[in-house]
């Protein structure tokens, strides 16, 4: 059957190729677009004139589902919003509904949320850092990163029963307590992790080719990062010292002391791909520090507040914020007193990061576009929801 040129012509409209330029579709099925995202790129040889992101291939309508499923039943769907850092999605939703109900999780549950969250941040950053090295061409760091991530996922699987879609939080607390013997397994892993990160830096972080490929590429100045509403490592990579865990404290984070790594333009210019990459590597070390403190000061007590089986919060709206691995995840829940949410809005870090790619992509080379996508750590499920 003939290819549907109608659709192709329509995609070509957004780009106006001159004589010696061609329009290439980077995606939706492409080895380094981190999921199903399409970049309609108008290139003149290697140099890109314009790259228009075309998203929506993984849109499952999770916000519409939010209006059709009762409050506790929606928790497994939040895992699917960002399955690489699902713990934060759970925590954000739970925080929003708890704020709506006006209840608060018991201290032990807050600590468990912090431990599980930080472990999940380590697992996510290993994926993001590993795939970035893979996109630049080095295959070995990816498999090493996946090996470390595997041990984190095993720990989380032992805690809550699943490797990616944890469904660990409940409204008012967490579902399971720490299995016995788990704590020193985590500590053993963290000792290995702290010594492994130095080897990782020796293998790839300061590798001259890696640095030359990333330093001074995809520079996002401080003002532009704030203007585009970037979040998380992308924002901190440009030198903005803003972290929800410390500036809008929630859960157990006020009890921990950890510093927030910020980009410094060490090898290139402030706000380039390498800075965003290095912020993530340093965040892994910070997260392991937080988990150690949380395990040491774990209070006892019950792990879930008393919550009615059929949740019916009164009419009103609430916002739950959580510092996810890809930046601030904002849940805006409007309730009309019924058992199901009236409106459930999820704002994710990747969606904001996609907005800036079109402006960054003019005048750079094809290989740099791949480096920028990898450094912004955009993931299709979070962009499309």
């Amino acid at each position: 059957m003939a290819i549907d040129l109608e659709l192709d012509r329509h995609i070509l409209q957004r780009t106006s190729p001159t004589e010696e330029e061609i329009v290439v579709n980077f995606g939706p099925q492409h080895p380094s677009t981190h999921g199903v995202i399409n970049f309609v790129t108008q290139t003149n040889g290697e140099v890109i004139r314009r790259s228009v992101p075309d998203i929506g291939y993984l849109h499952r309508g999770l916000e519409k589902i939010g209006e059709q499923v009762p409050y506790p039943g929606y928790m497994p769907f939040t895992d699917r919003i960002d399955y690489l850092a699902a713990m934060f999605a759970n925590e954000g939703y739970a925080a929003a509904v708890e704020r709506l109900l006006g209840i608060d999780a018991p201290p032990r549950a807050k600590y468990l949320r912090a431990i599980a969250g930080e472990l999940c941040r380590i697992s996510n950053h290993f994926i993001s850092v590993g795939t970035m090295a893979q996109d630049i061409g080095a295959a070995t760091p990816l498999t090493h990163a996946l090996r470390e991530r595997e041990s984190v996922n095993d720990l989380l699987e032992e805690l809550c029963g699943a490797r990616l879609t944890f469904n660990y939080h409940r409204i008012g607390g967490v579902a399971f307590d720490v299995p016995e013997g788990w704590a020193d397994k985590v500590l053993r892993f963290l000792d290995h992790l702290d010594s492994y990160i130095q080897e990782w830096d020796r293998l790839i972080t300061f590798n001259k080719i890696f640095v030359k490929r990333l330093a001074g590429v995809g520079i996002i100045t401080r003002a532009k990062a704030i203007d585009y509403g970037l979040a998380g490592p992308n924002l901190r990579g440009s030198g903005v010292n803003f972290d929800i865990r410390r500036d809008m404290p929630y859960g157990a984070y006020p009890d921990f002391d950890f510093n927030v790594p910020v980009g410094t333009g060490r090898v290139g210019i402030l706000g380039d791909c390498w800075d965003r990459y290095f912020v993530r590597v340093q965040e892994i070390v910070e997260s392991s520090k937080i988990v150690r403190q949380a395990l040491a000061k774990l209070p006892d007590g019950d792990i879930q507040a008393k919550v009615a089986r059929k949740l019916k919060p009164e009419a009103g709206e609430a916002v739950g914020r959580v510092e996810s691995a890809r930046g601030e995840m904002l849940y805006y829940v409007v309730s009309d007193g019924s058992e199901k949410a009236y409106r459930l809005r999820v704002r994710t870090g990747s969606f904001m990061a996609m907005g800036i790619i079109e402006e960054l992509s003019s005048g750079i080379m094809v290989a740099d576009l791949i480096a920028i996508i990898a450094s912004l750590d955009v993931v299709a499920p979070e962009v499309d929801r």
């Binding site: 506790p72 497994p76 020796r202």
Partner: protein, 194 residues
């Protein structure tokens, strides 16, 4: 930009130093143990047994202790469980469960059904190998024969329900059905191919 001579040679020494470190790291991995678990046939134990006890695999229902309270059916966000309870024609006081079907192909293993179950009848096992030739074979019917509905279990105060060890029933069922067996009885044929 005119690169000064010092920067020119600086690049070269930096290249040599960073390559040296990178190469030593990769060569050192030649002498370390790879972490690959050679599933499915070269592992010491069955992989399903090495999983942690809280692993949320295929659902298993022990009909002996099911009280027919429909809590799991209500808790499931995507209505994967279907229960039909009935009055026993012979003696009206005894409720029976005529149909308890779990559509494993749609289940997302979230564990919300296991929590409200009073006697722990429905549990997640550690089995995960459930490849079937047709998707309809994945509808597990825990009341095998509608003619013989299962009487409802009455929980006794103070004494917890005598549940079969988790995973046993499912493993027995999976052993009987080979992956190419046709879907169980009473399953309608798929949507008409127009």
């Amino acid at each position: 930009m005119a690169e000064s001579v010092r920067a020119y040679f600086g690049h070269i020494t930096e290249v040599v130093k960073t390559f040296w470190e990178g190469l030593t790291v990769t060569l050192s991995y030649m002498a370390r143990r790879p972490i690959t678990v050679q599933y499915p046939d070269r592992t010491e134990k069955r992989v399903a047994d090495t999983l942690p006890s809280r692993y949320r695999g295929l659902l298993e229902v022990d009909m002996a202790v099911c009280t027919g309270c429909l809590a799991c059916e209500r808790a499931c966000p995507i209505s994967v469980i279907k229960i039909t309870t009935d009055k026993d024609p012979t003696n009206p006081k005894q409720r029976v469960i005529a149909q308890f079907d779990v559509d494993e192909s749609k289940c997302m293993f979230c564990g919300l059904c296991v929590e409200p179950c009073p006697t722990g009848a429905i549990q997640h096992t550690r089995e995960f190998e459930s490849t079937m030739k047709s998707i309809d074979s994945l509808v597990f019917r825990w009341v095998p024969d509608p003619e013989k509905p299962v009487p409802v279990y009455r929980p006794v105060k103070g004494q917890d329900a005598p549940r079969a060890p988790v995973g046993e029933l499912l493993r027995k069922r999976m052993a009987q059905t080979s992956w190419i067996s046709p879907p169980s009885i009473l399953v309608p044929e798929g949507p008409k191919k127009e």
